[in-house]
């Protein structure tokens, strides 16, 4: 049994911190771990990635082969797309949708998200704003990790324990903010998966999940059912588009009214 994932982001976005949490959580759970990462010149605002490989057997390669990763976890949407060639055809993408524009030729954002939202197994969320709500904008990476957590072969408690270990030295406020950020991300991911299980089209889910201000508690079942009804209904596509176009984050309990 093995599980390969790629972490992606831009230098300074905390990609290697996510890797640290995953490594230590997996090791504590008895997995063999290999994790390669990028240091040096690329860290100056360039694309940064890490390959994390978990297995019950010894792990051979430090790099992931094309078409073999189960998951890409990204802190930035363009970076999420950069590593999709490593994904299996049924692989999943978890990403923040807020672009970090530090290059002159950053692609048209609408076109970028359209390509992204075409991914068959996507968890898209606004980790940047959700982290602010959690108490520290720096926890953007932790929100994304939380959103990836239901897809990982690791228990929530093991990941949270390593988050605590990582941030312990920064004091209780930062630890609590990160735990909150993690749970917010996880709630978003559970919401997305519930809608997918109910047959809601992927692009509608992505448009909605990118605009919801998730809380640390999972979205309540009756609210979930209402969203499924709305998005699978005749006005579902229009409602998702409207919510997405409005750009504001809204509470999951505020379902769009029919126009």
């Amino acid at each position: 049994m093995s599980f390969d994932l790629v972490l992606a982001g831009v230098g300074g976005q905390g990609v290697l911190s996510i890797a640290w949490v995953l490594d230590h959580a997996a090791h504590a759970e008895g997995w063999r771990v290999k994790q390669s990462e990028v240091h040096g010149m690329a860290q100056r605002g360039g694309a940064v990635s890490a390959c994390v490989r978990l297995s019950r057997q010894p792990v051979a390669s430090d790099l992931i082969a094309t078409g073999t990763a189960a998951l890409v976890v990204a802190v930035e949407p363009l970076e999420a797309l950069r590593y999709t060639t490593l994904l299996r055809p049924d692989g999943a993408l978890v990403t923040d949708v807020t672009p970090l524009v530090n290059i002159d030729h950053y692609p048209d954002q609408a076109a970028l998200l359209q390509v992204l939202f075409g991914a068959p197994h996507l968890v898209a969320l606004d980790a940047t704003r959700l982290a602010q709500a959690a108490g520290t904008p720096k926890a953007q990476n932790t929100v994304v990790l939380g959103a990836a957590s239901p897809l990982l072969p690791l228990p929530q408690a093991a990941l949270e324990a390593q988050l605590q270990a990582l941030f312990q030295a920064k004091g209780d406020r930062i630890v609590q903010a990160n735990l909150r950020a993690f749970r917010i991300g996880r709630a978003a991911s559970l919401f997305v998966h519930a809608l997918r299980d109910a047959g809601v089209p992927g692009d509608r889910i992505a448009q909605v999940s990118s605009r919801l201000a998730f809380g640390a508690e999972p979205v309540a079942d009756d609210t979930l059912r209402a969203w499924v009804g709305c998005l699978n209904g005749p006005q579902g596509q229009a409602a998702a588009q409207r919510l997405f176009a409005a750009t504001a984050l809204v509470s999951p309990t505020e379902l769009p009214l029919p126009p």
Binding site: D23, L63, G67, I103, D104, A111
Partner: protein, 552 residues
């Protein structure tokens, strides 16, 4: 099998980078000192040694040395005094240290002396992908090439034993994907360092011709013992699956990709020789060739083994293929996909996203927001814009090398550490005016002082810009050897007249003043040094801490 790991094992294990595992291995081997010059992918080795010494309260001396040559010479001194030293650098750093390295092979070591060199195939953070195994071979010293993080630890410890047993420096060769990859490592108990002691007969350390000839003869005589060590080494493992089967000769991290790409069952159909210790185990290679229909050489870096084993294709051996013949890519790092293609294993189908190619813009590294280098380049650009036509600026190595890229395009050469000043002197001698160069404070003390001394003696008409950001930023914020007033004194001490040492503060706000100063110096015929002094924004906290430390 899905077996829970033994908790006792887990507690002993630590998840370490290859670099960190080397550092732990050196500390546990009982080093008394460590020296390094920062350079990706080797930097974390010395950092970890410093951390370990502090956390474990160990009396390990050492420095971020002024450059790699000095680092290796400091290590040689420790070895000469009978104690163990680890010296670490990146591959191109060994070019700087080549002089002591080649001669240390001849003089031999006394206390264990291990040189870790981290190669950078694919040039993730380097200007070439040279393979340090050639240097080990050139100097006739043994080389260990770990393939995983545990071997990084174990081989480092073994390298010290070998160094003392055969009285030779030992090279440990890493590559980026090992240096910067993590896995669980189990350390062993630490060996206490021994007391310092001089070697009884110092002749072999005094390489005047009469002694050098004897020492070189001793080095040549040592080779059979090194070969015997390599032939017997467990890492150089030969598995013959059957006469006439295809063979694979694989070294270092290449093994990992091979297992990943082919899988153990398929690999069992090949004759396989793994290599992790050099000089090459020639007898075992002979056995592999004799047993195999053809041999594919899988090695990370240059085709070092392939070139020797195939004797450039001159001998009538079984077909030997690899990076030289095009069976594997000649350039860049290997990976599981390259191995799959080489052995005809299909590369797995991947997720296809419609429209991906249209939006997938590259994101190269860039200077940070508010970086002082950007303002320095903008001012320089403005000052020379009005001048005569086609002006080229000789650049150097550091974050400011990124000034070569769009949108700044501010420097027009980047060769090796410290080259900018010498190249500007050459350009001036060739008749170019103005002849300009840009060098950082860290690179200046690494290897920029000697060429500046040349310019002083010659009063060459060059304009030297020293970008003093008070730290070695590119590699993660190591202390600069001289910045602020110390740097001014250093430049003056080399003989640059005080009135030709100009200080500017590269900010948007003071751009006009900076441009004016540059223009004044462009108008002066002769050597000028313009120091653009503004602390790095990214490592502001580290700089503050360093200044506090210096003041205390």
């Amino acid at each position: 099998m899905d077996m829970p790991a033994d908790p006792a094992t887990l507690a002993d294990e630590q998840i370490l980078l290859g670099d960190e595992a080397v550092a732990r291995g050196a500390v546990d081997a009982g080093i008394s000192a460590a020296y390094a010059y920062p350079g990706t992918p080797s930097t974390e080795i010395f950092q970890t040694i410093q951390d370990q010494a502090r956390e474990r309260g160990l009396p390990i001396r050492g420095l971020w040395s002024s450059n790699e040559k000095v680092a290796l010479e400091e290590g040689a001194g420790v070895s000469y005094a009978g104690r163990r030293a680890l010296v670490s650098m990146k591959h191109v750093g060994l070019n700087v240290a080549a002089d002591p390295f080649m001669n240390l092979g001849v003089s031999g070591a006394h206390g264990g002396l291990v040189l870790v060199v981290a190669d950078d195939p694919s040039m993730h953070s380097s200007q070439n992908e040279q393979d340090s195994r050639f240097f080990a071979d050139f100097a006739m010293v043994p080389c260990l090439e770990p393939g995983d993080q545990q071997q990084c630890y174990d081989f480092t410890r073994e390298a010290f034993e070998l160094s003392e047993r055969l009285q030779t420096p030992v090279m440990l060769r890493l590559v980026t994907r090992l240096a910067h990859s993590r896995a669980a490592v189990r350390p062993a108990p630490r060996r206490e360092p021994g007391p310092p002691c001089w070697v009884p007969d110092p002749d072999r350390f005094t390489l005047v011709p009469a002694h050098a000839r004897r020492a070189y003869a001793a080095l040549v005589d040592k080779q059979p013992a090194l070969r015997a060590w390599s032939e017997a080494h467990a890492v150089n493992r030969l598995q013959i699956s059957g006469q006439g089967r295809p063979g694979i000769l694989v070294s270092g991290i290449g093994w990992n990709y091979l297992v990943e790409a082919l899988g153990e069952p398929r690999l069992a159909g090949f004759n396989v020789l793994r290599i992790g210790a050099y000089p090459l185990p020639v007898d075992r290679i002979r056995q592999l060739l004799d047993a195999s229909s053809e041999v594919t050489v899988v090695e990370e870096g240059y085709p070092f083994i392939e070139r020797q084993v195939a004797a450039l294709g001159l001998l009538r051996e079984p077909r030997i293929v690899g990076r030289l013949t095009g069976a594997l890519p000649r350039m860049g790092e290997l990976g599981p996909d390259a191995i799959k293609r080489c052995f005809g294993v299909p590369v797995a189908a991947a997720l296809q996203l419609p429209g991906l190619a249209q939006v997938l813009a590259p994101r190269p590294p860039r200077l940070c927001d508010k970086c002082p280098h950007t303002d320095a380049y903008i001012a320089l650009h403005e000052a020379i814009a009005e001048g005569a036509g086609d002006v080229r600026v000789m650049g150097d190595i550091g974050c400011y090398s990124l000034g070569a890229l769009e949108p700044l395009r501010a420097i027009h050469s980047c060769l090796c550490m410290g080259a900018s000043i010498g190249m500007a002197i050459g350009a001036a001698h060739a008749g170019m005016s103005p002849a300009l160069c840009v060098i950082g404070d860290g690179t200046f003390t690494h290897s920029g002082m000697a060429p500046l001394l040349d310019a002083v003696r010659d009063n060459t008409n060059i304009k030297v810009f020293i970008l003093d950001n008070a730290i070695v930023a590119m590699t993660g914020g190591q202390p600069a050897q001289a910045s602020d007033e110390q740097l001014v004194e250093l430049v003056a001490g080399l003989g640059v007249p005080r009135d030709r040492i100009r200080l500017v503060e590269p900010t948007h706000h003071k751009n006009a003043q900076t441009v004016a100063v540059i223009r004044e110096e462009l108008a002066h015929v002769g050597l000028s040094v313009i120091i653009a002094r503004r602390a790095c924004v990214t490592y502001a906290r580290e700089i503050k801490a360093l200044r506090r430390g210096a003041a205390a």
